[in-house]
Amino acid sequence: MAALESETRQSYLVFACGSSWYAVPAEAAAEVVTFPELTRVPGSPPHLLGVFAHRGEVIPVVDMSLLVGGVSAGSRRAVLVRLSRGTLALTASSVAGVSALMGPLEPLGPSGVHVHLRGPVKSGSRDVAVIDPEGLFDHLSQGG
């Protein structure tokens, strides 16, 4: 289970999407992939770039930069986040690696996707938003 505590001592995969840095619990980060041409799903929001088939599963690709900041990162790489309900791919322009992060895990905003981004935490000199993967999955499943 990839639940977040109020203050983190877990290991996280830290990655950038556009100019922002994010982290997901290392136990939920399955792999980093370069995804092929995507198939767009009719009626899906712009931040849901499309889907691709990977190991017999159809995986949706979410552009975190577009979701959070409204600007696409334009990356063809993604971090696969595997949850019990399914897998999602979060676009990543670069991957810093796995780090133990220290800091509070308060929601970074009162509503929308920011409820599922926690922090602030530091990874070196970087400000990192820790993604609550279960919450993000729920948010996206509801069309967010």
Binding site: E37, T39, R40, V41, P42, G43, S44, P46, L48, V51, F52, A53, G56, E57, V58, I59, P60, V62, R85, G86, T87, L88, F137, L140, S141, Q142, G143
Partner: protein
């Protein structure tokens, strides 16, 4: 992941650069577009028209740019919960043919979804 069933006979449709598919048994006929045709481009935030029209058994229509018929039996891959609600719940899953993924839609439900985008009742 297990397949969500199979489909035999599929209409593979092109909508601009995008792809959608329907089970052939859901399509009563294929016609030329007319003024009442609702275009599948709307589901991709586009404003394109239609070159071919799929007609449901109740006479409702969905316009696409082009289509081809696949007679193979295809496995239907289930949709992720993240996309299951897209296009008004008309997404049945995905099929792989011609080397690429195609969203497989329920024609009648997709037509209702497109009508809803136009602010027109089903």
């Amino acid at each position: 992941m297990p397949a969500a069933g199979r489909v035999e006979g599929t209409l593979l449709c092109h909508v601009g650069p995008h792809r959608i598919a329907f089970e052939a048994g859901e399509v009563a006929s294929i016609a030329a577009p007319d003024t009442g045709t609702v275009s599948a481009h709307r589901a991709f935030q586009g404003d394109g028209g239609a070159q071919r029209v799929l007609v449901t058994s109740t006479g409702e229509t969905v316009g696409v740019d082009g289509l081809e018929i696949d007679s193979e039996v295809l496995s239907v891959l289930p949709p992720s919960p993240l996309v299951a609600g897209a296009s008004g719940g008309s997404l049945r899953g995905f099929v792989i043919t011609r080397g690429v993924l195609w969203p497989l839609l329920r024609l009648e439900a997709f037509q209702h979804y497109l009508r809803g985008l136009d602010g027109v009742g089903p």
